[in-house]
Structures are given as C-alpha cells and as structure tokens.
C-alpha cells in the first residue's frame, strides 16, 4: 500500500480541509502522519469546553481561540517541517471562490452542517476538484467520494431535511416533548427576550383578538409599576393557565385528544416558596452575565435529574427574573443559544411546565438542552476511524485509482460480519439539478406569492444559494452583491415585495426562471406552474419544488435521523466485487448463494444509504410557516 508511487502522490499534493472540529482534528493528524506536506484548513469556529472530549488537538487553555489555528500549531509539534495554512473564516466567504478551490488536488470535508456541505460540493464541481465527504453521529459514520462526471455529487441523493412542525402542533396540540421545546424556544423565549417586532405565533391560536381588531395591551410587556415577581407570575399564568383555558374552549380540538390542564403559579408554588425564590439571588448570582444560573440559587444541582413541576415552575420564575435583573441590556436581542446556561434553564423549565399541562413526560435539563440545541452525539473513536478512511480515499483520488474508490460505512452493529462496510460509489444521478443541470419544476400561486417568498423558501432554503441572481429570460429580477449601485438595490428591494405575476417582467404559469449563484458558479432553471391552493399541513411553504429527489423528512430525534425514512433512491447499490482470490469459494458454494448474498448486502447498504449521516449542529429543529400572508390566509379558511 505505502508504495513509492503513493508516497510521491501524497508528498506533491495540496489539500484543502474544510472543518477543524471532531473529524478535522483527527484528519489533520492522520494527514500529517501519512506524509502530506501542504494542507490548508478552513474553520470559522472557536474552541469550546464540550469539544475537548474528542477534539484532541485542543486544551482547556485554548477555549475561545480559532480551531484552525490551534490545530495547526498542535500538529506542527510532531511534524514541524510541513506546511499548514489555517483560515479562521467561513467557507462561504466570497474569498473562497472557484479560483481558490482550483489550486487544490483534493478537498476533504469534516463539516457539521448540510448547508456548508452543499456549498463545498458546488464549488468542487465548478472547480473540478475531487471531494471526499464525511459525517459521524455516535458510533455511526460514513465517507464518500465525489468526482465530477465519475461518481454522484453530494447532492445527487436525497438528504434528510431539517425537521419542521406544523404551527398548530406547536401552538395548540403538542404531543411530544420536542413540541414543547420548540414552543419554549422559538415562541416563548423569542417573545420575551428576542425581537418583539418579529411576528410570533405565541398568541394567535389562543386569542381571537389578534385577528379581529387593533392590538390591545401587549400582555408580554412589563407594566410600569409592576415588580419583577408580579410580572413573572403574570406571564406564567398567562401562558400556562389562561392560554390553555382559551384553547380548551375550542371543543372541536379536543374531540380525539387528551385535554390539557391549565396550570397557574399559585397552584404549584406556595407563597412561602415564592418568597424564597425572591430572596436568594443576592447571595448567588454573579455580575458576569454569561454565567448567571437560576439552578444554583434554587439548589438544583444535577442536570441529569428530572425535576418536578414545582421545581420547574420555580426555575422558570427565577430564570425569567434573572434575565430581567442581570441581563436587562440584552433583552430584545437575544436568540436561543445552547451554550447560554440561563437560556437553557428557561427553555427547559418552560417546556416541562407545558409538558406537564399536556400530560407529556418531563425531561432533565441535560436532555432538554440536547433537543433544544440539536446537540449531536459524538465520540472520539468514530471520528478517528472516519478520518483514517478519508485519508485512504484521498490517496486513491490522488493516484486517480478510480476503480478502487469506495463509500465506506462505519456501523454500530455488524452487518454481514462487517463493522466497516465498503460500497462502490454511484454514478452521477442524471436528474440531479446540481451536477446534471436538469430543470426543476415549481408549483406556486403566482398571484399571491411574492418574489421574497420565492427567494427565501426556494432559492435560499431549498437550493442553498448565498449570492443568488434571478433572471427571466434576459431580464434581471433580483441579485445580491456588494458592488450594486443604489438604484439597483432599491429596484430589487421593490421587486422582493411584489407578487410574481406583477413583477416588471411577470412570472406566471409557463415562465422559466434562471437562478444563479455567482460564488458557487452554479446555475439552474426552474419552470413555473401556477397553482391556486396548497395544503397547509403537507405543503407549509405554500409552494412545491419538484424535479429532483426530495429530501427525506428527518426523524424527530437526532439519533434516529439516520435510521428513518423511506427510500426514494432508485439507484441500485452495487456491493463491492469480491477479490480475485475469492474465486475458490465461488466454485464451492455455487452461483445462487453468491447472488443472494450480494443482494442482501445491497439491501443493507440501501438502508444505510438512504440515511445520510449528518451531524448538523444547527437548524435540525425549527418552526416552519407562519411568516407569509398567503399561508396565513390558507390557514384561516
């Protein structure tokens, strides 16, 4: 294996690593040991404590520093003579354009989100540089090879889409703990501590006032003479008591469901306890905003414990109070962050109180944090194995050893005695809109949907473009860039607010739009088909993109997202050919068995294949819908 030929291919190679996290640390080490001499590495992240259990190039003293830079310094300690160039930057920065990618012999991904993976895939296609892609979750992992024209690109196969929930499940009829978390995080937390001007569904279901007349008093606004204790209790009683009572008044909803129980603060916290709540903060809370915790003053120590309804209620009131007393300046600008202790405490307690109301089992702060922060399960061993496999594929790519390219799955339970299972790569998918330039079809209500909706829900969310340019024939409808003059910017801003059919060059049924991303040097055509109505539950976007393999719905739990969903893949999976010296077995066992065994392997791999492992750190759980007028209208009907 380590032949002279191989060594020279490795020594002369210039490689780009994207990501210096769990896989990245292992990969950089293995590349250096394997003789690679010229490695560029991009990572926008800084080091956190929870990285240290697997990202072994980092130490406690490095917390807060650039991953790419610290990783470089650590590897130079045992391989000082090699060249490692770190970039503490986002791979989506315009600096990393097609020309930048063209200087490399191979690109190696150790990323944690779908968005960046798609972006790198397109740049590699445009620059015609081979890509070795990887992912891990717990004990599972995979490595795939993508070479333009030879194998499928990263986007040829469906990927699990971020999980979204119908608005009414979140606002009115939660049945799982995750629904309560989404409610607490995306609705309640944002309402109280985030941008108040943003539309928020927190009250739409429970209060008819919102749709009928001018907004009266905003219940979430703290009254002038109101002390923080009173305010907290009022919010508590409003969201867990009053709103539930309102919801209960709609009998239709509860015909086939368990009726929730309204919870008022006085029922769960005696005045005596409330008094204690009020007196403890002075002794415990520090002035350093980031380390404020409500758990500590309440004596709730173990994040693995499942706290009672009363404990959660006290935590809720305490956390809310601490936000207003210790972090008042941030209120109005906060968004949920899994590393913000107080935010996690608030969301955990709010989700648990809501869960109690709806008869859903309560969860520990540790579990709630995992769900709210979409925290990916990760261990060092899987990352080490995957990094080794990446280097093996990278060396084959450098030697242009096409027939030996493999996708490899790292399994938790052996399949056909295999813990590491190699599979031959697929050919490019002929209908892939990314690498085969097949036009897409968009069904949309051209008289109701605005260009803005199209840009957000299709161009950015579905097509993953960052610097889009939209054309109808030769007419420019929209573009993003730094070098636009003011007139154009104003013109495009006006276009965004127009419905498609009323654009300067109207977009109606039968129109074809061309959408390009200048940075990705990627372009695709979309045929428009007008459609009047969309199903609120099934088509929450109010538009439907087809003509390419639809993403699979992600499972509700991160750890299930790789073992769920039906296959939409039509591509047959070809198991790896047995080696030549297996022939003796072929003769002795007969052809029939051989074939059946192969097809079983194919079945196995198909199951794995459909479940791309994506260790997305972000946006796996999000609330969908509710931000477009057309959608609201549909919902009200």
């Amino acid at each position: 294996m380590a032949s002279q030929l191989q060594l020279s291919a490795v020594k002369g190679a210039k490689v780009l690593m994207v990501g210096a996290g769990g896989i990245g640390c292992e990969l950089l080490k293995t590349l250096a040991l394997s003789g690679f001499q010229d490695i560029h590495i991009i990572d926008m992240d800084t080091i956190e404590v929870s990285n240290l259990n697997r990202q072994f190039l980092f130490r406690q003293s490095h917390v807060g520093q650039s991953k790419a830079k610290v990783a470089r310094d650590a590897v130079l300690k045992f391989r000082p003579q090699i060249n490692i160039i770190p970039y503490h930057a986002n791979v989506k920065d315009p600096d990393f354009n097609v020309d930048f990618f063209k200087q490399f012999n191979v690109v190696l991904n150790g990323l944690d989100n779908l968005d960046a993976r798609r972006h790198v895939n397109r740049l590699c296609l445009a620059a015609n540089v081979p890509l070795v892609e990887s992912g891990t979750t717990g004990f599972l992992g995979q490595v795939t090879v993508h070479v333009k024209g030879r194998t499928e690109c990263y986007e040829c196969q469906p990927k699990p889409a971020p999980k979204t929930y119908p608005v009414c499940t979140i606002t009115s009829t939660p049945s799982k703990f995750v629904h309560c978390i989404v409610w607490a995080k995306d609705l309640l937390f944002s309402k109280l501590f985030g941008d108040r001007n943003q539309e928020n569904d927190l009250n739409t279901r429970s209060s008819d006032a919102a749709s009928s007349s001018e907004p009266v008093e905003d219940v979430f606004e703290r009254r002038k003479d109101e002390d923080i204790e009173q305010y907290g209790r009022r919010i508590f009683d409003h969201v867990f008591g009053y709103n539930i009572e309102l919801a209960l008044s709609n009998e239709e909803t509860w015909k086939n469901r368990n009726r929730p129980r309204p919870i008022y603060s006085k029922d769960v916290i005696s005045d005596e306890l409330a008094q204690q709540n009020g007196n403890m903060d002075r002794n415990f809370a520090t002035d350093d905003g980031s380390s404020v915790s409500a758990m500590v003053p309440l004596g709730m120590k173990n994040p693995q414990d499942i706290w009672s309804l009363t404990e959660n209620s006290r935590l809720f009131l305490e956390a809310l109070k601490l936000f207003f007393t210790k972090r008042e300046k941030e209120i109005g600008n906060l968004s949920f962050d899994k590393d913000d202790q107080l935010a996690v405490e608030f969301v955990t307690s709010a989700a648990n109180i809501r869960a109690a109301s709806f008869g859903i089992p309560l969860h520990s702060l540790f579990e709630a944090k995992g769900i709210a922060g979409n925290i990916v399960h990760a261990v060092a061993t899987t990352n080490a194995v995957i990094a080794g496999l990446i280097v093996i594929e990278a060396i084959k790519v450098l030697q242009n050893d096409v027939k030996n390219y493999r996708m490899t799955y790292c399994l938790e339970h052996p399949s056909k005695k295999m813990l590491l299972m190699p599979v031959e790569p697929f050919e490019p998918n002929k209908s892939c809109y990314v690498c085969s330039e097949t036009p897409l079809l968009l069904e949309i209500n051209t008289q109701r949907s605005k260009l803005k909706d199209f840009v957000e829900k299709i161009v950015r969310a579905k097509l993953g473009m960052n610097f889009p340019l939209i054309m109808q024939g030769s007419a420019l409808l929209y573009e993003v860039g730094d070098d636009l003059d003011e007139d154009m910017v104003a013109n495009y801003a006006a276009n965004l607010e127009k419905v498609l059919a009323e654009l300067p060059s109207p977009v109606t049924g039968g129109t074809m739009l061309t959408v390009e991303d200048l940075q990705q040097e990627f372009s695709c055509n979309i045929n428009i088909k007008h459609r009047e109505e969309f199903d609120e539950e099934k088509e929450p976007d109010g538009m439907l993109l087809s003509g390419w393999t639809q993403p699979l719905p992600a499972a509700e739990k991160a750890d299930k997202s790789i073992t769920n969903g039906a296959s939409t893949s039509k591509t047959p999976i070809i198991p790896v050919e047995p080696e030549k010296d297996d022939e003796i077995d072929k003769v002795s066992t007969g052809k029939k068995r051989k074939l059946s065994e192969s097809s079983e392997i194919a079945e196995e791999t198909r199951n794995h294949k459909q479940l791309q492992l994506i260790d997305d750190e972000d946006d796996l759980v999000m609330l969908d819908g509710g931000d477009s007028d057309s959608y609201k209208k549909n919902r009200l009907q």
Binding site: M1, S50, V379, A380
Partner: protein, 373 residues
Amino acid sequence: MVKSWRQHLLPETGLKLIVSAADQQPNSRCLLSRNKISMISKFSSLRLGMDGEELTEQETALYDRQIRVWGADAQRRLSKARILVYGMKGTVAEFCKNIVLAGVGSLTLVDDRVATEEALSSNFLIPSDEKVYVGKTLAELCCDSLKDFNPMVRVSVEKGNLSSFGVEFFEKFDAVVVSCVSLAAKKLINDKCRKLSKRIAFYTVDCRDSCGEIFVDLQDYRYSKKKLEETVEYRLYYPTFEEAISVPWRLLPRKVSKLYFAMRVIEKFEETEGRNPGEVSIADLPGVLKLKQDLCTVHSLNESHVPDTLLERLVAASTREFPPVCAIVGGILGQEVIKAISGKGEPFKNFFFYDAMDGKGIIEDVSDSNNGR
C-alpha cells in the same frame, strides 16, 4: 470495576442463568429467561445508583457529547477503569488517545524501548524535537503527551519486561492491551490475566502495512441489549488466544478472513526463526511461503485461502505501520474497550480484521464450537 458490577448482576439476585438452545448458535449467546430480566436490570441500576458517585460538573461539561452516546452510568464506570498497554507504536498511540479522551480512570504504559526514527513515523505522541526525546523511553514520551489530553485521567509509566511481571501485577487492571509482542508473550500474558479471580479484558492489536488485527478475550461476558421494548441479557464465552489459534483451520467458518491465516503464518515464522515481532523482510518471503505450505497441509486447507500476494505485502512491510490504518484499528479497539468496560453495547467476538486494500472491517469468531466456547 467491571467485575464488581458484574457480580451485582447475578449472585445477589439469586437468579440462575437459564442456558437455552442458544448454545448451538454460532455466537453461543445465552439468553436469560425474559420475565426475570426486568428484575435484574432494576436491581443492577439500583446498585449502580448506590455505589456510583455522581459525575462532577466538570466531568459533565467535558464529556457532554459522549454522555449523550453512552449515558452517565457508562461514563461513571469508565472513570473507574484501569487500563494497561504495552507496545507504544502508532496503533497503540491512537488507542491511548481515544481512551484518555473518553475519560478512563487510569492508563499505565509499559515500553522501555527508546525512540527511534521509525517509532516517530506513525506515533503522533512523540514530539519531533530530538532534545525532548533523546534518553527517554517510548512509554515516558507518550505518557507526557497523553497527560495533556485529559487532566482527569491518571497516566503513568511502569518499567520492566511485561512478560516477566507476575500475576499480581495484572490484578491491578480491568483491561490489558498488548501490541508488537511475540506469540509466546501473547499466550503468557493472556494466561496470567486468566489466572485471576477477577475478570480482566485482554486484547492484542497489530498493524502491518495496510492491514490490522485485533484479538479479544473477555472470558465469560454478559451484556444487555434493548430489543424492542425489553432488555435482553446476553452471554458470550471467549476462548483464550491459545485456544482460538489452536482451532483446526478446516473447522473455521467457510469464508473466514484470509488475514487470519496470513497473520498466523507470519507469527509462527517469527517464532520459529527467533525473530522479534515485525522483524521480517522481503528476503524472508520464500521461508514464509514454505511455512504456509506446511501449515496448510497440516490443517488440510486449500492454499488459496492464504494468498501469496497478501503474505508478500505483510512481510515487505516489516515493522512499518500505515497511519490511516493505525487510526482505524486504534479507533475500533478504543470503541471495544469502552464497550467492555462500560457494559454498554455489544462487544465483538473475538477477532477483527481490517485491510485497506478491500476496505472491509470484518469480525471473525474463531472458537471451537464443540466445547461450548
């Protein structure tokens, strides 16, 4: 720790194992009667709750992502485990990194050899600065680096020849991992681990060229697995290294990995010729091929099961390791030791092979099915 946990599981409940027909199954797994399982698991978790101290805040923060994989109980058991390793080359360096990061209680390194150019080549634990490494043993150099990876793990060095250590030395450990040792040493150390009343998990690991082999002896091992709604207890009987390699080749599963045979041929060759592990070169190929022929004849095995090309690769590699393979095999080994210590997950029985040429990582059960092992 593993041992004491195991003892809680059965004797004190007064339940007897019901050995089912599973004995005849290839993996000789025995199932406990299912209606008694819930009792057992309740009891054991109670016990764990009682004697397992809570993880500290620092531990919870550091191990957050992996606790999400294997749970807080497993993390507590890991933090009490004591591991011994011998043979500080690339694969063992990878393994050590993995279990130190995972947060075992302690790790003891034995390897008195001094650092050479070759030792540096696949071992990232040794700094390249000559001033640092001259005059220190491999174990000492690796110890210094490993301590840095996780301040919560006690990493230390034991000097001396592992084969000459008495049985009582091994009693201090829960798992023993040896690499780059002779056939005789593997048998000897395995036997010492077996002589003790407590159960010690014994592993050997070796990488040559782009191939790797792991052997494991967990003796009599029980673990539980969730099947649908209920937790099922399984039991695995492991043979020793000597017992495993004594199984006549023709009795092995039909498609057993060719690497298994090739590794045995080279191991035997080194023993007969009085060589140190890996001390072979391409000049030895004719001798190795001759030995292969003899062994195949003795075992009535068709020679095509041990391809000459494979032997040639292994012989030519000598003591050289291929770093990506070290990472892969060291990773799989780390995972297995974590499983065995934490009692979480299904350990493999009893060999693992990886060859970068075909990309397969295969588990082989090499044991004599006739004597219940």
